[in-house]
């Protein structure tokens, strides 16, 4: 059952990811990206990381994609559609993609063992089923407080910067 769901969701994810890149119309592209993100959230749910899954939908689909669409709608789609698909960076992209696929193949061939850290092998964290929201919260505010705060300040700075840029006169 789980395996079946996993592959279904994975297929959705991959197919829509490809659509996202290949779609000519940016709004459709965004729509496919939403589908891909939902598939990914499904994978998170399947892995019992409900918190991450829900936050994924909330932040990416409900927040970021809405803002994306907001911007895309303001730009005339017809102009964008006529543009050339590939730009100057395509060679770099090919190189990177090759490296990534080699890595991926290596891991797939090398077996699932690669992903298993020592802790998992010894069975220490096989089950984090209960209350992972609490765990995440506690982690964030204890062990990782500094990075968390830095990230917050970074976002704040970015927000203020955006406001400053968007205002016509100060």
């Amino acid at each position: 059952m789980e395996v079946f769901l996993f592959y279904t969701l994975a297929a959705i994810l991959v197919v829509f990811a490809i659509f996202t890149v290949t779609a000519r119309n940016p709004v459709r592209s965004a729509l496919y990206l939403v589908s891909a993100l939902l598939g990914m959230a499904g994978l998170f749910f399947l892995l019992k990381a409900e918190f991450v899954g829900a936050v994924q939908i909330l932040v990416y689909v409900g927040g970021i994609m809405v803002l994306f669409l907001f911007v895309i709608m303001l730009v005339s789609v017809r102009e964008v559609q006529g543009e050339r698909r590939a730009n100057r960076q395509w060679k770099t992209a090919v190189v990177l993609a090759t490296v990534l696929s080699v890595e991926l193949i290596f891991f797939v061939v090398g077996g699932a063992d690669v992903f298993r850290t020592e802790a998992v092998k010894q069975g220490v964290i096989t089950q984090i089923q209960t209350a992972n929201t609490q765990n995440v919260g506690q982690m964030l505010y204890t062990n990782y407080l500094l990075p968390f705060e830095i990230a917050s300040i970074l976002l704040l700075v970015a927000m203020i910067g955006a406001v400053v840029l968007a205002r016509k006169e100060l």
């Binding site: 709004v27 459709r28 409900e50 918190f51 939908i57 409900g62 927040g63 809405v66 803002l67």
Partner: protein, 366 residues
């Protein structure tokens, strides 16, 4: 094996089917209820022709919507135009998978009785004991509140995409308005919920209700500010007056659904009403004790327990829907800049303040 199949597949499927059916009916009749109520507020009668006091009106409306010609504007993006209404409607239904209508042991008796015909007593016993099967909810996940928030946020996309795909100016303006409005008010909505979460200490809607029972107190009395915010922002999220700017018949003609007609339009229409029910149900669950009767701890009011929990839930939801419609019959509409100003400069700071004060009080005294 039979147990697993029963608990995880068959019973949930039946529950889903029943809820979808009931919900669809409820939405349809909510439209009639709104028309009747608003009519009576406005010293007129509302639908009277179809059936007794217009009772069959929703069915007539539904038939009309289905039979109407299906128009896709020639300049529209057909694919997006087609699926956008569904994107808007589906999340409204999905949210109900985690909303509890009744206590965890609600269907225990029913299950025992009905399963007794087909299975041996051990199976019946274990299935009936499983809250997932016997509970008055489809599922109970430990991040239900987040789930509600995230799924309902997907519904916005339907409106935005619909407005864009129509390839017309009024819908585009409506879509822009709605995206700005929803993003703004979702923040305050989220923060208002956090107040409850702090008190309840759980993200599961079932547990939140159970905690209210244990505390002998509905959380609205602990978090009145949060409730007010939640309800106002909920109104904004559902595009109801005074926040119906994305539609605003008198300004944007119909906003994002200007170009929609027939069945597709009815999907948007239903989505709005489904969202109203969702917001009311979530508000009842978080703040008004869900399926609990009033004053669960006062013994001389025990006769209130004669009304089954699920009915209490429905009564409360109904009251909220009544308020929704009442407000619509009374207030004018905000202007866009005013809406944004209230959202960011009033509701968000108040919600943040509420969270900080709540957390402080909890830390200091508990």
């Amino acid at each position: 094996m039979t147990e697993t199949l029963l608990v995880y597949a068959i019973i949930p499927f039946i529950k889903i089917a029943v809820i979808v059916l009931i919900l669809s009916g409820a939405i349809a009749y909510l439209t009639l209820f709104e028309r009747k109520l608003v009519a009576h507020i406005q010293v007129r009668l509302g639908p009277m022709r179809v059936g007794w006091h217009g009772l069959l009106q929703p069915i007539a409306d539904g038939l009309k919507f289905i039979l109407k010609e299906d128009i896709i504007p020639s300049k529209a993006d057909a694919l997006v135009f087609t699926i956008a209404p569904a994107i808007s409607l589906i999340p409204a239904f999905v949210v109900f998978s985690v909303v509890p209508f009744g206590p965890p042991e609600m269907f225990e008796g029913l299950l025992r009785w009905s399963l007794g015909w087909f299975f041996d007593s051990a199976t019946v016993e274990s299935v009936a004991q499983n809250t997932l099967a016997s509970g008055g909810f489809i599922t109970d996940i430990n991040i239900a509140v987040l789930f509600v928030l995230s799924v309902s946020s997907v519904g916005i996309l339907g409106i935005i995409l619909g407005g864009w795909a129509s390839n017309s100016k009024y819908p585009l303006l409506g879509a822009l308005r709605s995206s700005a409005q929803m993003v703004s008010y979702e923040v305050a909505l989220g923060f208002s919920i956090i107040g409850v979460l702090l008190v309840a200490g759980s993200l599961s809607l079932v547990e939140i209700v159970q905690n209210q029972e244990k505390a002998h107190l509905w959380y609205v009395f602990v978090q009145p500010v949060a409730f007010a915010l939640f309800f106002i922002c909920g109104m904004a999220e559902t595009n109801r007056l005074p926040f119906d700017l994305p539609e605003a018949e008198t300004e944007l003609v119909g906003g994002f659904h200007t170009e929609y007609s027939g069945f597709r339009f009815s999907l948007y229409f239903l989505a709005e009403y489904a969202n109203m029910i969702t917001i009311s149900a979530v508000a009842v669950t978080l703040f008004w004790g869900g399926w609990l009767r009033p004053f669960p701890n006062v013994s001389w009011l025990a006769f209130l327990g004669l009304i089954p929990p699920v009915l209490w839930f429905l009564i409360k939801v109904f009251l909220f829907l009544y308020i929704f419609i009442w407000v619509r019959g009374t207030l004018p509409r905000f202007r866009f800049d005013q809406l944004m100003r209230y959202g960011w400069k009033v509701f968000l700071p108040v919600a943040l303040g509420n969270v900080i004060v709540s957390a402080g009080v909890l830390l200091a005294f508990l």
